[in-house]
Amino acid sequence: MSFYTINSLTFSYAGTDKLFQNISFDIEANQHIGLVGPNGCGKTTLVKLMLGILRPQGGEIYLEGNNIKDISLSDVGKKVGYVFQNPDKQLFCPTVLEQMRFSFTYGDCGSAEAINDNTDYYLKAFDLMQYKSLSPMKLSRGEKQRLALASVLSRDVRFLILDEPSTGLDILRKKQLENCLMELKQEGKGYMIISHEAKFLDRYVDRLLKLHAEGVEYA
């Protein structure tokens, strides 16, 4: 049984042509996939469908054999970590530290010891320790992106979906992200990255999934 099974998926936004029709593919929990395609082809929409945020007009999505429509968003979130394309949409806590601890406090996403260890580790890894008592809204675009990444990576999820994670990161911070991706690989965790950066994808994914109007294909 695959971690994700996408079966004959069809979706369109109200009043528009079909964004994609009858697309099918599988993803294993330890796979490292890059999702590519031109602007507006529906990459983020596909991810939102895979998370259960949007409902498809046709077809099914199975997460560990369960239809995604029967799983609550919080249960999906406990298995799949998602870094939003726009970090502003992901950050909602009053301080950086509370944002990092949120999943542990409200989501029961790890043991009590993991809270401090993981929080400190990822705050240091992404150079955010000095901002821990600040509001996430006061951070720059790049810092918000790092916080969004750190808060997802600190959780013990089986699979990660990163929507353009390197946007807004400088060379040093991109290196930190790359280190984290290497660690995830070593831990045997899978991820799917949406990105337009071919070089970045070449280094960190095993397969490329190309999305276009006619469907998807592995490259």
């Binding site: 919080s74 979130g77 949409k89 909602f92 806590c93 009053p94």
Partner: protein, 244 residues
Amino acid sequence: MKIDPRTRIILVFLISSAAVVIKELIPLLFLLLLTLILCRMFSVHLSGSIKRLRKLLYFFIILALIQSIFTPGEETLIAAGGLKILTTEGLEAGISIIIRMSVIILSALIIASAPAMDVVYGLIAMKLPYEIAFMVLLSIKFLPLFREEFADSIIAVQLAGADLVKIPLRQKLSLYTYVLTPSVIKALNRARLISLSMEARGFRIYPDRTSYCKLSMSRMDYVTITAASAAVLLIISYNFSIIG
């Protein structure tokens, strides 16, 4: 059918004013019927809007209950010991408030269903200073922005592992407090960005603006306004005839 935006603004003003003035239940029902007819005429997508407003239903019911309980009356329907809990007058007041709110919301949909810029042009054509007309546009845009920001935050909260159904009420309340403040700030920031973008394009440099859009009222507009005004006046006079 192309209707001038001023017609929509005048009709909404008429209906919402009448909804405040009319106190009796039957005239309010007539006003609701007139509003529904106008909504239909202006192609307001009623079923979709009602679906979106469904969550307000509980608020209406609570409001109606409070109104029912605190309105004194002679004929008691429910009593506890010697205490009147619900009277016929209270029940009527409760139903009236639901109808009144429905009329106001439905009439607002007549404006909301028009393109936002048309409403601005309509307000400017009615001699409202253009700065204020654009402020109205921003305030119209603010609510959907806030709704979108709040919905995004709720999705983020759930994807972070918090189950909004299962967590205890106390935690749920603190969680909503968490989400509410940044949602308001984000929506305000987005509205601020819109205003900055407008100013960057020369908004308010000169006291007047030249517009390519010249509005003109057609015969259909005059007929609609006259007919709706006559209907509203009839309903108001019927209301006062009941009161005596």
